[in-house]
């Protein structure tokens, strides 16, 4: 593996990990709202959350550019408040990946939350546990399989994200060029097939690793959560 390739792989992992980790809590919150609360715009919220899946990634990329670019309203805000710049940075790649992965995170978590037995939460409350404690000791552990499924889907998507990323942060080697972008670039040139294939294999290995890890974690959770032979 060349040094450039190693850098690309590292960057990809970093971007995908950051995207998943940051999107996860937010996705959980949204999933919780959708699973547990009744409000008027519920269907609408679910639809909005699903949008990045429906729109062509290029459109989402443009949207991100308009909102989070250095000139965009949110971009300026983030810059001013957190000193965080997205445009043409790996952070932007993570943002794009996170946005695109978001719907994939929300759905399984919502599904799991809907399946949690409310009776157990009630039981916890009768034992004196405050809401947040009930959440941490009962709801969250019981929703773990969904969280895990969402995280795997989201991570995989973040790893593979291409359209929105290239539109939002461009393809800057060493800064925003993730595996996907690199593979794409290579495939665009008549002579890039072999190099592209190498990176594709790397991608596959990364995904395999993530999936196997999640399967293993899933078994742990199930052993813990079920106990039925």
């Amino acid at each position: 593996m060349t040094e450039t390739e190693a850098a690309i792989i590292l960057l990809s992992a970093k971007v995908a990990l950051a995207a998943t980790l940051f999107a996860l809590p937010l996705a959980f919150a949204v999933a919780w709202l959708l699973a547990r609360r009744c409000f008027v715009g519920k269907g609408l919220l679910q639809a909005i959350v699903t949008l990045p899946l429906v729109l062509p990634p290029v459109a989402t990329g443009y949207g991100l550019l308009l909102l989070f670019g250095t000139q965009g309203p949110l971009g300026r805000l983030m810059e001013a408040v957190f000193g965080l710049t997205f445009a043409f940075r790996w952070t932007g790649a993570a943002l794009a990946a996170g946005v695109m992965a978001f719907p994939l995170l929300v759905r399984p978590i919502r599904l799991s939350l809907e399946a949690v037995d409310r009776g157990l939460e009630e039981a916890a409350a009768t034992l004196g546990a405050r809401r947040i404690i009930v959440f941490l000791t009962v709801t969250l552990p019981l929703a773990l399989p969904g969280l895990l499924a969402g995280a795997v889907l989201g991570f995989a998507k973040a790893l593979g994200e291409f359209g929105a990323t290239i539109t939002f942060v461009s393809n800057i080697p060493g800064q925003t060029q993730t595996l996907s972008l690199a593979i794409y670039s290579l495939l665009q040139s008549p002579t890039g097939d072999a190099a592209a294939l190498r990176l594709i294999v790397v991608s596959i290995l990364l995904a395999l690793g993530a999936v196997l890890l999640s399967e293993w974690a899933g078994r742990l959770i199930r052993r813990g959560g079920d106990g039925r032979a």
Partner: protein
């Protein structure tokens, strides 16, 4: 002295419930047929279901008041709830289930864990997950979890239904002791008249979502259809025979001897005498193993099919004897007649040792 006042009306789906009763410290049984609304009432007291109207006050604290808009959250009501379905946390070990109120609920450490674990026979299962426990084991964990929650009100929905007689015989006195020591109201749902008679100070009879009657176990269980007729007599121990382990109880106007090891002199007890255990003789007899021969007056004779129920006045107290209608006729029993009630000492159940401060009803 704090008790629980309940006066609520509400719905569970399409089923309307309204209930009004008070529960003093000690055991109050909710008694009623399947589907009568017992669990629903408990849920409303716990706060996991919401009444439409009314008030619930515990020990002076208003838990719920529809008019005043008060609806204390479940966690703040200070309850311990044994649900009808066990509702154990499937992802937590038995130990963590039992101690949940301590590490998650921040309830005070009351009863010691090893004591409760030993009582419930859960020593071998502490590190297992609930998933593979047997039905009775699950139920025991649920009981332990509620007991260890240091509750100010204990709500128990058929807590012993899937336990064997021996285990019940171990747990019942403990529950009795919990109710007495901690001076908290215990609301107890059960179908076992025996259990109710043993434990309860008061019975709330629930029928079709409403309280049909509230009264002493004697009053309510006596008339229970399908149940056995029995009377509860309260009195004071006036004599103890340590050798034969019998006690003599003065029930006011008469004394009853019963087989009861360990009853202290002067203690106040409630005795349960089943109607089918009372025979009638027209005069006292010698040479009988039946030592309680109580002179009574017949107050009423009710023939129910092949059986006759004879209400007997024994001073202030009442006894009921159930004999065959054939016997009643053969003996020519009639109202006003003086007869002798025969009660075997071993048939008298000491239903409950009462607290010193408890009023004799």
């Amino acid at each position: 002295m704090g008790g629980l006042e309940v006066d609520i009306a509400g719905k569970a789906g399409s089923f309307a419930v309204s209930a009004r009763f008070t529960a003093a410290p000690g055991v109050t049984a909710l008694f009623g047929r399947s589907g009568a609304g017992k669990s629903t009432i408990l849920k409303m007291i716990a706060g996991t279901a919401r009444p439409d109207e009314g008030r619930i006050v515990s020990d002076g604290r208003v838990l719920f008041d529809a008019a005043a808009g008060i609806d204390l959250p479940v966690r703040a009501r200070g309850i311990g709830f044994v649900f009808q379905e066990d509702r154990l946390f499937p992802h937590l070990s038995v130990r963590r289930n039992l101690t949940y109120a301590r590490w998650a609920g921040r309830r005070a450490v009351g009863r010691p864990l090893p004591e409760v674990v030993a009582l419930l026979g859960l020593e071998d299962h502490l590190d297992r997950l609930p998933g593979t426990l047997s039905g009775g084991e699950r139920q025991r964990v649920a009981i332990g979890r509620a007991l260890l929650a240091d509750p100010r009100i204990l709500l128990m929905d058929e807590p012993l239904s899937s336990l064997d007689r021996q285990r019940r015989a171990e747990i019942l006195p403990y529950l009795e002791a919990v109710a007495n020591e901690t001076c908290i109201p215990v609301l107890y749902v059960s179908h076992e008249t025996e259990e109710v008679a043993r434990l309860a100070d008061k019975v709330v009879a629930v029928e079709a979502g409403r309280v049909r009657a509230v009264g002493s176990p004697a009053e309510i269980l006596g008339g229970e259809e399908g149940g056995e007729t029995a009377v509860l007599l309260e009195g004071r121990v006036t004599g103890v025979d340590p050798h034969y382990e019998t006690a003599t109880v003065d029930i006011g106007g008469a004394t009853v001897e019963l087989s009861a090891p360990g009853l202290p002199m002067g203690a106040r007890v409630r005795l349960r005498v089943r109607a089918s255990d009372v025979a009638i003789a027209t005069r006292p007899h010698e040479g009988l193993s039946i030592r309680n021969q109580l002179s009574c007056t017949i107050e009423r004779v009710t023939v129910k099919g092949s059986a006759a129920e004879i209400l007997l006045a024994l001073g202030e107290k009442r006894l009921v004897s159930r004999i065959t209608a054939k016997s009643a006729e053969a003996l020519g029993l009639a109202v006003g007649q003086r007869v002798v009630a025969l009660v075997k000492a071993v048939s008298v159940e000491r239903a409950r040792l009462m607290r010193p401060d408890e009023a004799v009803e």
